[in-house]
Amino acid sequence: MIDIDGLLPRVSRPARYAGGELNAVHKDWNSVSTRLALIYPDVYEVGMSNLGLQILYDLVNREADFLAERAYAPWGDMEALMRERGIPLFSLESRRSLADFDLLGISLSLELTYTNALNVLDLAGLPVLAAERDDRFPIVVAGGSGGYNPEPMAPFFDLFAIGDGEELLLDLMRLHGRIKGGGPRGDRNGRVSRVEFLREAAKLEGVYVPSLYRLDDAGFPVPLEDGVPATIKARTLAKLGPSPVKPVVPFVEAVHDRAMVEVQRGCTRGCRFCQAGILYRPVRERLPQEVLENAEELIANTGYDELSLLSLSTADYSGVEVVTDVLGSQYPERRISVSLPSLRVDSFSVKLATALKASYGGGITFAPEAGSQRLRDVINKGVTQEDIEGAVEAVFAQGWHAVKLYFMIGLPTETDEDLDEIVKLAYRVRDIGRRHSGNRTKVKISVGALIPKPHAPFQWNGQMPYSKIKENMIRLQRGIRGPGLAFSWHEPETSVLEAALARSDRRVSQVILRAWKSGCRFDAWAEQFDFGRWRDAFAAEGMDIHVAAERQFSLEERLPWDHISTGVKKDFLAEEYRRSLRAELSPDCRSGGCLACGIRQSYGGC
């Protein structure tokens, strides 16, 4: 056990590193065959909010022969002290060095955590390049949506687990245990041959092992041997696994500090900018009875006073009315609030929120995404002016005084008129609010730039040039001012970096390595983010961050992530992109008929 008593009195928020939380699982190190550290490469409060890691922690620790512990990226003050004293990054449960584990599972979902992922490996005492790690080191696995374009991070990971992680992670651990068991008896601390492990792992559906591929002249990965797939198909669960009903309860307030039940995975609305809507197909629902039982167990096991019903679009969940009726009639009087994140923009959603007597202290948030009907049709948002006004009307009529509206700029075909429609909508919403709430009305408009992510229909579309994003933000800011109105925007610089990393091929890995070496950390944190340093890192590798972000792909060319298959056909995405440019809507396939996206064939149903 690493002694951290000398460190914690000297750092901010020391409870981040102390462990000892309720429901943390402490297993006997020597009683299991395979040990996994689950790592979120951001600070504790962010990592502890991640439901995906809670699910995996629960599943692995249910297995008698495995253990899972947690680790997060230390904040700068802690990092400095650890480096000064030669203390490696450790797990919260057993306080062992991460280098002692068999497998490190790093959640890779946000590009802005990529430098932290490298820093985590380095702090654990591992070479950051997979090629420099031999059998003494743990096998480093990436999970999460970042794996859908693995190339930017490919040199740093031994393996990418792509798709739903539940079965896949257990498959990997079983494989590891089997290979280890084949070694000397009783040698439970021995290492397996990573070459052998990786070769076997590459045969599992959803696994990408970069070292088993070479790059062809055009820079695309090609299998080096038989049995290694040319195209890696993401793993998809037929049915959602059990909810974690005894999650670790943090002492330090997490960003999402509440009980969470995933009511449904996947979304069929078909918004054309949305990556998650493609990655998590098909829709898989949890039965209402199970949701209610999970909620009850969660509250009893954690003591949380807030419950969140999670999905990409909870109002589309078929059991939503049953669940909200029951919870709404019981939970408020027990002082437990229930929240529905990602509300749809319509009065039905407001009705649900009302049934839950949800407090939504900061007001209800809707995401119309675009100001004009034409542009909302381009992105296939499926929301009309009447939907927006109806939703807002219902919110203020129910006694809320604040509404937050989220918009995106830099959408394909966008013109100044579309931007001016955002301004008009802001005033229109304020007027509606004033009829109910008078001068207490607060309308917050928040704007971010489109980041065209891999596998979404807009993947071919280059990001709007940086200078134009800034110009448009200022245009909106000038338009949206006055009593009852507030305007805020996401920093365009971080959006540029996200696009440049998300849309690039293997070459950008050298940029990431260089940026990390030059001191980039916690890029998602405004006060830590250093755009200049990133721009320099691109330049030093002979690239341009803006060119990378703004690159327009042709529909015919091969994309850097084409070797990863979500099960959705590229033809379908291309057709959606073409339709978007003509402002043609596509229906929600749950109600409007099958659009032949490919999921039905690739997974035999949806």
């Binding site: 020391p14 509250i299 003591g303």
Partner: protein, 215 residues
Amino acid sequence: MGQRLRVIFSRGEETKYLSHLELMRMWERVFRRAGWRLAYSHGFNPHPHFSFAAPLPVGVAGEAEMMELLLDEVREPAEASQQLSGHVPPGVGVVGIQEIPEAAPTMQRQLVAAEYRVACPASASLDRLRVEAARMMEAATLPRQRVREGKTRSYDLRPMLRYLEILNGTENGAVARMELRIDADGAGRPDEVLRELGIDPADCRITRTRLLMKE
């Protein structure tokens, strides 16, 4: 029917780094898990009526801390203590529960002093600490300066120090025992006593062993 209860609790190594706010949130969750019916304040943002005798500084363990709460029900103290023990996280212990008359003065008004035990670093010599402790106890004043939020404040530590002794520790370092005054003007700080002794509080293991009430 309501009730005012005082919970005596400990916090150990795993939980000593919690801030006061984090500790309060922890207790709210403990009571919800235990199924207790807390009395809540009225108003827009209702909260339970918790009060703590004296907040513990971050990094300081406690053996007999005190908190009081108001219930919307009545519980038998011994039974309540045992039941609550089943719902606290690993680093927290329920030492006991007492029923307090609702009209009794607040704990803050009854509190007079706190006792601490400090495991000093092995590098600090026992003899030198004894000399320093004797000097401090004999001094008429111990002028010190404290920097808080960028402002330096001068004050006298001596009146806050009721006693200080240095013992031979069971581990490899010396042990300091001290009793520090608490009154309306503030509480004596163990880290300040340690600095006056010439050791860095961050190198010590500090435990508050007892809170002393007026009687």
